[in-house]
């Protein structure tokens, strides 16, 4: 278990079934509402978002990022911590 996934998230965002660009745009909106240091957990099954746009967004913003693909469930659990 990673550093972020071992913590209790401040909010959880379920974007299962949504494809690009919705996961990223909804994540941006959710992160904006988080307090500094807040942790967002995202459930996402869109590969382009989980493997490209979401990590790119977190990196650009300087946020901590962690992602785990749950092969048995067919989606990713992604954690973004707002700095």
């Amino acid at each position: 278990m990673g550093e972020l996934s071992s913590m209790t998230p401040t909010e959880t965002l379920d974007v299962l079934g949504r494809v690009c660009p919705y996961p990223l745009v909804l994540t941006k909106k959710a992160v904006e509402k988080l307090p500094s240091g807040g942790l967002l957990k995202i459930l996402c099954d869109a590969p382009a978002s989980a493997e490209d746009s979401l990590p790119r967004f977190a990196e650009k913003q300087g946020y901590k990022f962690e992602s785990t693909k749950l092969d048995d469930k067919g989606y990713w659990e992604i954690y973004i911590q707002k700095s």
């Binding site: 690009c20 660009p21 919705y22 990223l24 745009v25 909804l26 909106k29 746009s53 790119r56 650009k60």
Partner: protein, 137 residues
């Protein structure tokens, strides 16, 4: 810091064409391009419906029943969910005999907080004048 304002101007009817759907898709997608831009560069979209385009904003669209496609209504609500600025031309609403009650003005049913605005065409003109790029659909 540079902000590029994009105005998506929708003047076509909602169905038997992809134009208004493309306008909304591009407007929504424009919210994601910041991750590919240089630091400090931003994109600010505005969507305006005028002329026959205001018909895209009608409530209770039955596109799946009639045409077998998802409705523009859901795309418009997603735009409001994502806080896009949506303007509807007041003069054309009146010309077509529509009322505010008959139009999609919010997306509260899917958690949206932003509302569409019915505005005089002069306000839409101001948006066009202050935009870096105008895209007509």
């Amino acid at each position: 810091m540079a902000t590029k304002k994009l105005a998506f101007m929708v003047k076509t009817l909602p169905y038997k064409t992809e134009e208004s759907r493309l306008a909304l898709t591009h407007a929504i997608a424009s919210q994601t391009v910041e991750i590919y831009l240089e630091d400090g560069e931003m994109v600010e979209p505005v969507v305006a419906f005028f002329g026959d385009g205001v018909m895209n904003c009608l409530k209770n669209q039955k596109a799946m029943n009639t045409y077998g496609v998802t409705s523009i209504e859901s795309h418009l609500k997603n735009s409001l969910l994502l806080d896009l600025k949506v303007l509807i031309c007041k003069e054309d609403v009146e010309r077509l005999g529509l009322s505010e009650d008959s139009l999609i003005m919010d997306a509260e049913d899917i958690g949206g907080e932003t509302k569409a605005s019915i505005v005089p065409f002069t306000e839409i003109m101001k948006e066009m004048e202050t935009s870096d790029h105008l895209l007509f659909f």
